[in-house]
Each structure stands twice: as C-alpha cells, then as structure tokens.
Amino acid sequence: MSYTIKQIRLKFFELVPIFLLFFITLNGKSVIDFKILSINVHYILIYFWVLRQPQALGYGFIFLSGIITDVIFGLPIGVSALALLTVAAVAAYVRVVTVRISLVNDWISFIPALLLANFIYFMSLYFSNYSIDYLYLFKNCVFTFIFYPILWLLFTALLNLMKD
C-alpha cells in the first residue's frame, strides 16, 4: 500500500514540469510583465528541466507548447517553437559538456541560451514582417537572466522532492 502511494507521489512530481509548461502556455503567461519587469518564465522552465532532468520534459511537449503559444499570442506558427527548441538545444549541449552542477554554472550558461533564443525570435518575427520593440526585447532578456536564480531554487526544491 505504502509502495503504491509512493509510486503515485513520484508520478505526480514527475508530471509537474509538463503541467507547469502547459499551464503557463494555455494561460498565456509565458511572459510575466509587472511594471518595468518582464520575465520569460517559459525559457527558464525549459532551460532548467532540460538541463537537470531531461526525461521530465520531452522535446515534443516543448515544441507543442511553442505552437500553442504562437496561436494564443497571434504570432506566425513556429516562431515560439523555434525559440523554445533553441533554449532546449543549448541546455542539452551544456548538459553533455558539464560535469559539476551548480547555480553559478547554470546561470552563466543560461546567457548564450537566452541570447540565441531571443535572436532567433527576433529574426523570425523580422522576416515575418512583424514590428518589434527592441527595448522591450532587451529588457526581457535582462530581467529573465536576473530572475533565473529564484526559479532555479524553486525548481531545485521540486527536483529534490522528485528524487526523495
């Protein structure tokens, strides 16, 4: 009996990243704007889980989440999917080449992921003839980077619960 409860609990925690991913996607809350702050939770969520527990967040789900984001925000289909897959790709590469896991390592390696993803986002929108607020994109990049450790701590706590 206790074994079954433990299994259910484990399964539940395993599904939390996917649940979070689709919750923020379908709610249109992938970018949180609060006064001057602008944080891309989507990028942080994907980067963390692909880096630390790739089996918890499949690439197929990330792709699907990007497509849904594009439909909800009215962007050309494929833009967000491409940006999110870029974040996942950088995370996958960092995972392969990194041995020691720490907040500082993760945080620093998040910079190229963020820059590359936003660059691809910018290019895709530019070639689709969408006007872009450059200042907003820059602000979003900076605040997403600053906000990373807070979500890192939350997700690490969740990861520890999964491992327990």
Binding site: F23, V31, D33, Y59, V71, I72, G74, P76, A81, Y93
Partner: protein, 282 residues
C-alpha cells in the same frame, strides 16, 4: 586541438541528433519542422486555411477553459477594488455628469446647425451600419502583439480588415478569421497604422501604435494646428474604414502628440464588428 574539435562535434551530435533516453523526438527534427511551419505560414490555400482555422479554434477554446480560474480571480479582485473606490468613483461621476449635461446643449445646437448646412448644400449622407456584437474570448496581451480573440468568425460573415468598435469608439481591426473566432489587432499595437483626421485643426495623420502606452500621431503636416484636447476620428482615407468614427483625444507627452483612447483597451468585454456600411449620396 584536433581532439577538442572532435569533442565539440561529439557533444553537438549527442545533444541535437541523438534521441535521449525517454525522448521520442530528436531536437534537430523538431527544429526543422518549426522552420517548415514558418514557411507554410506564408502559403494561403483553402485546405491549409481550413486546417489552420480548426487548430486555432480548438486551441482558443482550450485556453479559454484553462484560464477560467485565473480570469475569475482577476474579476473578483476588480470587483473588490471597485467597492473600495466606490466613494471616489461616485464623486468623479457626479462631476462628469454635470459636465456632460452642459455639453448636451452644445451638441444639440451643433446637430441642428449641421442639418441646416447640409440642406443648404443639398447633400445628405445616410450611413447604414451592419454591426455584429461579439464577446472577447481571450485577452492574452503578448509583448509583441496587442490583440484579443473574439467568439465570432466566418460563421458571422466576419472578414479580415473589418473595423472593430467598443460601443461607438474605434479600437482596432480584424486580422485573422477562423470558423468560430477572430483576432482583433488593437490600435495600440506596433503593427497598427490607422489614417485619422483631427477635429478642429482638420489635419490628416496616421495613428501609429507603440506596443505599450498611448498610440502616437505620425506624418502630421509641418504647419499643423493640432493641440491637446482635439478629438481624433477615422478619416476613411483609402476606403479602409468608415470615416468619422471617434478614437480618442490628443495629448502632448514625451515631446510628441499622443492619443488618449476613448476606450480602455484592458477593460473590454463586448465589441461590435462593422460588417460593412453603405454610404449613399443623395
């Protein structure tokens, strides 16, 4: 050196091409599909459009259901804040009511004068508007697109480019039509450019959205006489929109002429779509 390059190659291959444990798709394949979808987005064919409409309608409905709890919570917070600000609102409304009563007299006089002048030039403009009311289904403000989704589409004969009104005020236009839903691009969006006329000064301009904040007036003539407080209406130039739909009031901020919209775009629940109007000159 050679070894290092090989190491990087192996790392890239294992990260992008190989399917990891418990991963059903390789990253490379999904990236290629995303790029393919971006190109497909440019293709306009009937079967593809039907497929897109069906997918979008399904996702909109799903999102509407999922975001229901968050929307309800937001509604409750607004209600609470309305109750807290009840006294202040009452005083403001009282002042506004007095002001409006004064303006009614002026308005009646102007209507009378207008009718007389029309008779004088033997011209009468009759406008038949064909409005369809819709509910705002999804209002997810994207950082790059200020728009919302309404619950009417092809089923109500809505077409791309039709003007969208909040009451009698212009707020945007239709940019994407599905079977049961449509997307409205708001005037505040970066991609929105509306030909307008400014009342009193009679100058033409382009109302240009900025993404955040109030839209601005662009391409004003050098010798313009625009002043804060002047009213902004659609000009109807190029025949895209009907002329004379109120949009907002001119203000001067950050060294530029901006337009304070008559409608609060964040508080819209129901809108009217103008299916087309007929202007007859008698």
């Amino acid at each position: 050196m050679e070894t290092n390059r090989e190491d990087v190659g192996i790392a890239i291959r294992s990260a992008f091409l190989r399917r990891d444990t418990q991963q059903r798709f390789s990253l490379f394949v999904l990236v290629v599909i995303s790029i393919f979808l971006l190109f497909v987005e440019k293709i306009e064919t009937k079967p593809l459009n039907y497929f897109r409409s069906a997918v979008k309608d399904t996702i909109y409905r799903g999102s509407e259901i999922i975001s229901f709890p968050a929307r309800s919570l937001g509604g409750s917070i607004d209600l609470l804040s309305d109750h807290i600000n009840l006294y202040t609102n009452y005083n403001n409304l009282k002042k506004e009511n007095d002001l409006l009563k004064d303006q009614i007299l002026t308005s009646d006089y102007l209507t009378l004068e207008n009718t007389q002048l029309r008779k004088l030039i033997d011209e009468q403009m009759v406008s038949y508007s064909n409005l369809v009311s819709s509910r705002v289904m999804l209002d997810k403000q994207s950082p790059y697109l200020n728009s919302f989704v309404i619950n009417s589409g092809n089923n109500k004969n809505i077409k791309n480019g039709m003007e969208v009104l909040d009451g009698k005020n212009f707020i945007g236009r239709i940019v994407d039509v599905n079977f049961f839903s449509s997307r409205v691009l708001l005037v505040s969006d970066l991609n929105s450019k509306i030909p307008v006329i400014i009342e009193s000064s009679e100058n033409h301009a382009i109302l240009s959205g900025r993404g955040t904040g109030n839209p601005t007036l662009e391409y004003l003539p050098e010798d313009h006489k625009v002043k804060p407080g002047h009213k902004v209406y659609t000009s109807g130039k190029e025949g895209i929109f009907s002329p004379g739909i109120p949009i907002g009031e001119v203000i001067f901020e950050d060294n530029q002429f901006q337009v304070l919209l008559f409608s609060d775009l964040s508080q819209i629940t129901f809108i009217n779509v103008n299916l087309g109007n007929e202007i007859k000159n008698k």
